[in-house]
């Protein structure tokens, strides 16, 4: 399965991935209109300390703790892709507690959100397309 991988050697900590992620999931057609004055809830975030930085998003684990711990069955794994059913999520945040990567976070309305590889946006992952230095790649490994 193709996944999003990061290469910290080329990450510039420009944070563009976060903006492209938020834009892709906003459903808007123009980034300026979609994101101006809006508090961002990206599903990818750049971790940085001193000279090292890299973007973190859902790893789509082989043995996903979030799916195992979900009390309502909102998180499911299909063909390797872990997705969330917004209608079933009750916002208990158990998945947030168990995810070792910190890749799940609450959306604006309290329902959990996570990277679903832009499958629901009908495009290749936008963070990958928006990365100016190929520090985030979408590939089979």
């Amino acid at each position: 399965m193709k996944r999003v991988y990061v290469n910290e050697n080329w990450c510039l900590a420009c944070h563009l991935c976060e903006y492209y992620c938020a834009f892709a999931n906003s459903g808007g057609h123009d980034m300026a209109t979609a994101l101006k004055g809006v508090k961002l809830h990206p599903r990818i975030s750049v971790e940085e300390k001193d000279l090292v930085s890299f973007a973190v998003s859902c790893r789509h684990c082989q043995e996903p703790l979030c799916v195992k711990s979900c009390i309502t069955g909102a998180l499911t794994k299909t063909d390797g892709l872990i997705s969330i059913d917004r209608d079933k999520c009750v916002g208990c945040q158990t998945c947030v507690l168990v995810c070792p990567y910190g890749a799940i976070s609450p959306a604006e309305d309290g329902v959990m959100q996570k990277c679903e590889l832009c499958t629901k946006n009908g495009c290749e992952p936008r963070c990958v397309q928006g990365c100016p230095n190929a520090a985030i790649v979408y590939e089979e490994r």
């Binding site: 050697n9 080329w10 990450c11 510039l12 900590a13 420009c14 944070h15 563009l16 903006y19 492209y20 834009f23 123009d30 980034m31 300026a32 994101l35 101006k36 004055g37 000279l51 928006g130 100016p132 230095n133 190929a134 520090a135």
Partner: protein, 501 residues
């Protein structure tokens, strides 16, 4: 605080309707132009620090930025231009020599732009390069002037060592130190993939790049930095740098700030010390002395590699080239006055040297007149901007061209001409690890391959139009060129006729 006499030449213009204050511009500017004003939540740009490198403009996700020439002006004066006035302010402020980077930007005549290429009509057929074979590969080096046979009448191989190029384009000398590790890796990998050569410049060869040796020209310049036996043996050819088009007659100076870590080890000099290349080679004061170095290098590498001598295009270039051709060199590289540099005194860059077109034509003619053109190959450098320039250079007598600035542009350079600051926002002319990582060699290498492949296609198209199917048949073929808007004298030096003749 003293009065700052300098007003920003360019202004950063932000469309606040589109700016989402994502701060990418702020994070990407090594010159600290952009900042977020906490109270208003709006971005602010200090245009006085802007070097016009366009990094922020290129990365702005909402296209909210542009850089424009300021309309702020001095009182108009045809004699005292704004440039002349501000340069005086700068020198009155610093007391120092003005420094600049990249090639001469002044409006001197460009002869490539006054040359037009021929095409076939009716009486001779043009060739479609997509349907018929078309040869753009060349061999550089001394060509045999006679056949030699052994006692059995069999042909003896008397061919001197040659460089084989798939495209008559090479990446010119840019040292590791003046450009980054990632820029060097991009050039090396692209040269290997394209079947051409890149040049180490004067700074030695990083140990990681010895594996690209078959596509590397190693340079020996006046400072002899990084030169040792393994270095000489690693390359496909050795270049002796006598001069550089951007700064003929003077040496080089890589500031100590750039001599860090691997750069210091590769150059074999202490960290933090300035790398000063003397103006002349102190062991070369004549053609005879040059011959000694040429043969020392050949001896050291067992006569397996061609030796290139690179000179700047100066007033007596054809006589100098004639001497070099007799010194035992296999290839002469001539660098015109528009050639780039990582740092040069502004006055030298902008006022010394001559145009490469005139130098090349006059050297080619002189060598042919003296019957020694086959003794050497000619490489033309100094602002080759397009495949049309390559075709014109070949028709004026070049065997191949060097591209430096064009290659850097492919890597992202925006010709902001501030290499000397060491704060290249595109990760090219810097050794700051936070900036060098901005150039991913996977991307850089691909872009260089794209550029040279595109030029190769265009060269074949132009050759096909002329009815020529081998670049060798175009070399020195000045009937394929016509001049436009030139004087008799200019046409005479270039050896071309005027359009319509």
């Amino acid at each position: 605080m003293p009065i700052n006499f300098l007003c920003p030449e360019y202004e950063v213009v932000r469309d606040y309707d589109r700016c989402i204050a994502c701060r990418v511009c702020e994070r990407q500017c090594a010159n600290n132009v952009h900042s977020l004003i906490k109270e208003s939540g709006k971005m602010f740009a200090d245009s006085s620090k802007c070097v016009v490198c366009h990094r922020c403009v290129s990365l702005c996700p909402t296209r909210a930025l542009k850089i424009v020439k300021s309309d702020h002006s001095f009182r108009q004066n045809a004699n005292w231009s704004a440039k002349a006035i501000t340069e005086i302010y700068k020198q009155a402020d610093s007391g120092g020599v003005l420094l600049s980077s990249m090639g001469n930007p002044e409006a001197y005549p460009n002869y490539f732009d006054r040359l037009l290429i021929n095409a076939s009509q009716v009486t001779n057929p043009s060739i479609d390069p997509l349907r018929e074979p078309m040869e753009t590969s060349v061999f550089l080096g001394k060509k045999p002037t006679e056949l030699v046979r052994d006692e059995n009448g069999r042909l003896q191989n008397n061919l001197a060592p040659q460089l084989h190029l798939n495209v008559p384009v090479m990446f010119s000398a840019m040292s590791y130190g003046s450009i980054s590790y990632n820029a060097h890796e991009s050039l090396a990998r692209a040269a290997e993939a394209l079947g051409i050569y890149y040049n180490t410049g004067e700074g030695g060869l990083h140990e990681d790049f010895y594996k690209y040796g078959r596509n590397t020209i190693v340079q020996v310049a006046s400072g002899r930095f990084g030169v040792h036996k393994a270095f000489l043996e690693s390359g496909a050819a050795i270049e002796i740098k006598m001069g550089q088009g951007a700064k003929p007659g003077i040496g080089g100076h890589l500031p100590g700030a750039k001599i860090v870590g691997d750069v210091s080890r590769t150059r074999m000099i202490p960290e933090g010390g300035d790398a000063i290349s003397p103006a002349p080679h102190h062991d070369i004061y004549s053609i005879e002395d040059l011959r000694q170095l040429v043969y020392s290098l050949k001896e050291a590498t067992e006569y397996k590699k061609p030796v290139i001598v690179k000179i700047a295009a100066v007033h007596n270039v054809s006589a100098i080239a004639s001497g070099i051709a007799r010194s035992g060199a296999d290839i002469i590289a001539i660098d015109g006055f528009r050639g780039g540099t990582g740092a040069a005194p502004t006055r030298i860059r902008d006022n010394v040297g001559i145009p490469i077109e005139l130098a090349l034509a006059s050297v080619d003619k002189r060598l042919r007149d003296e019957g020694i053109r086959d003794e050497v190959s000619l490489v033309c450098a100094g602002s080759i901007r397009s495949s049309a320039d390559v075709v014109k250079a070949v028709a004026l007598g070049a065997d191949a061209v060097y591209i430096g600035t064009a290659a850097l542009l492919a890597l992202g350079c925006h010709l902001c001409r501030n290499c000397q600051s060491g704060k290249c926002n595109w990760g090219i002319a810097t050794q700051d690890s936070q900036l060098t990582k901005r150039l991913n060699p996977d991307i850089g290498c691909k872009r260089l391959i794209n550029l040279v492949s595109a030029w190769d296609h265009e060269i074949k198209e132009m050759m096909g139009g002329m009815g020529i199917n081998s670049i060798e048949a175009l070399r020195g073929n000045r009937l394929m060129l016509r001049g436009i808007g030139m004087t008799e004298k200019e046409l005479e030096i270039l050896g071309v006729r005027h359009a319509g003749e």
